[in-house]
Symmetry: C2
């Protein structure tokens, strides 16, 4: 795994450098908006999507450097969706720092004074606009592929897929997630949950990897068997990862997971884990599980009770198996590609993503 971590770091540095050097945000004004446009894309993080893109480019015979603008573009794309998500979810912390709208609110308070309400409204307004500019920045960065002699037809096809397929599917997934909050969690079907995950998580992984292959092959054919395989790998990886995340949300620990344990239950979020448990329980058990939603506080006792209930009905094992099925499918697809260092990296990355310590 030493190589994987080293290569992830190397990718992260290359992407960070590329984004830092890009002149797009320099002409955004006023200053607070410009700062907000730079902020998330430069906060770092694991840069998983760029790694998936670059390594798929390498695995299918391309030069990773050629694809670097696209790698930066998917990272910027990911970040604009986070800026808007954070407003929508009223989150206050992202990667250990205040979220965009909170940061902007606080900057406005310092710079302009005025009432807290005005500063809060300003923070949200500027965060909406920052995400809007970042969406355009992602397209701008993607088009810098032309500087690396990627054919116009390939650049056009990648822009079209980003703005037609990716945006529509990803935002629809996000919207479904928002709408779930208004539903009784029992009325949300597994199918809808999978659809939401596929949009919110898998779509960008799929886009990233297929872009890497399209650049390597200088091809606009996304229906080829190779691109279908890559798309299916990404789809399965996304589902495995998200279901693993549900499990971590209950069976993980705060330090690894980064969010309070059982928060999905506190928010009464329909997850595959919750649905699986409900499907396996009798009506008395169901009532008991439902009484554990929306509690004001989840301490050791409540968490342990939830863990036991969901384990005892068989849902924990079933969902763990489901995640393994998806990741198994992903790894099997990978085997169809000729073995090289990039295929190995993608395999190791998959194992890392789904094997996070529980």
């Amino acid at each position: 795994m030493a190589d994987l971590k080293q290569e992830l770091l190397r990718t992260a540095h290359a992407v960070q450098h590329f984004i830092e050097q890009d002149s797009f945000p320099a002409q955004v004004f006023p200053e607070l908006l410009r700062n907000a446009v730079w902020d998330y894309p430069l906060r770092g993080g694991k840069r998983l999507r760029p790694a998936l893109l670059l390594w798929t480019c390498g695995m299918t015979g391309g030069h990773c450097e050629t694809a670097l603008p696209a790698a930066a573009a998917v990272e910027i794309f990911h970040n604009w969706t986070l800026v808007h998500d954070d407003i929508i979810d009223r989150d206050e912390v992202r990667r250990g720092q205040p979220t965009a709208h909170i940061q902007l609110r606080d900057s406005a308070k310092v710079r302009f004074g005025g009432s807290p309400e005005k500063a809060a409204a300003y923070g949200i307004s500027f965060a909406i606009l920052a995400g809007d500019v970042q969406q355009a920045w992602a397209v701008h960065t993607l088009m810098r592929l032309s500087e690396n002699h990627v054919h116009d037809s390939v650049v056009l096809a990648l822009v079209r897929r980003m703005q037609t397929e990716l945006n529509r599917v990803l935002i629809s997934g996000e919207a479904l997630d928002v709408e779930f909050e208004l539903h009784n969690p029992d009325t949300v079907s597994k199918e809808d949950i999978f659809r939401m995950i596929s949009g919110k998580t898998s779509a960008l992984l799929r886009y990233s990897m297929q872009a890497g292959a399209a650049i390597a092959l200088q091809s606009t054919d996304f229906d080829s068997p190779l691109q279908q395989d890559i798309g299916n790998f990404a789809e399965n990886l996304g589902l495995a990862f998200q279901i693993q995340d549900d499990l971590l949300g209950l069976y993980g620990d705060f330090k690894t997971f980064g969010k309070p344990i059982a928060s999905d239950f506190q928010e009464a979020k329909p997850t595959i884990l919750y649905r699986e448990a409900m499907d396996r329980m009798n009506s008395v058990q169901r009532q008991e599980l439902k009484s554990m939603l929306h509690l004001p506080f989840y301490g050791e006792e409540e968490i342990q009770k939830l863990r036991t209930m969901i384990h005892d009905c068989g849902a924990e094992d079933a969902v763990r198996k489901l995640s393994e099925d998806f990741s198994g499918k992903a790894l099997a697809i990978l085997e169809r590609f000729p073995k090289n260092q990039y295929r190995d990296l993608l395999k190791d990355l998959t194992l890392m993503l789904i094997g996070r310590n529980i």
Copy 2:
């Protein structure tokens, strides 16, 4: 002027039809988000930006039908910025109907019940996402130029300008306008106000007209004397129009203007008219004008007092002259183009836009 109105109607119908036939929103889900994505672009309106684009294409020797996807694209682009603007400005009415976030709030109430706060938050969340999807829809629609055999290089150049120049300048203008609210209006310079207008209004007019010419000429050269002329025409038209709008906001009547008279003063908005008056007044008059800001109600008496103050110091005439200077410059640039029916339409449109009844 009969021809102008007829041609505007014809353009509006063509754009409406093109947008209705486009399949992009059909795959957006859930249903309420899909409805919101369709909503503004289909609400109609004068379709001025498409008309500017199509007629510039015609004036420079192109076929208007070829440019129709770009005409629809600038209209969709305009509308996504309105959806986000309406959230930011907390506006409740747009073209005689509820704004997107209000419409979504009310739909959520009917469909899901729940508290008014939840419905309001849902309305804002979905309106943010609707604008996000519409921004991508604009790019998608622009790229449909390829179906009309516009060269890949021209399509790429137009996407690049939309996402690099237009988005950045327009959103910066919007952000400046938002930030003005936090400033004392006396500290905002005329230069900043012009910069804001140039971003919020002129940038999309410029983009629309230059796109029309680029399509007609199948050229990616936006630095040519012809494109410079077109850009300058649009810049001057936007400034003339916006300054005229400031005047209408005080000297117009509610029916023509569509908004309450003196609302700029109620909101203490820095406008060219306000700045010009302040620059011409002595300190006593200035204090008096400042005491007329932020009033809870502007009746006949208050409006008349403001009109007189701003007239007597010479600001009304000076600003009227300024608007005429900008429109005069625009019309002079137009004369450089060979006379044809489209140049005549652009001239009549300019006269209509700046000669609105005062």
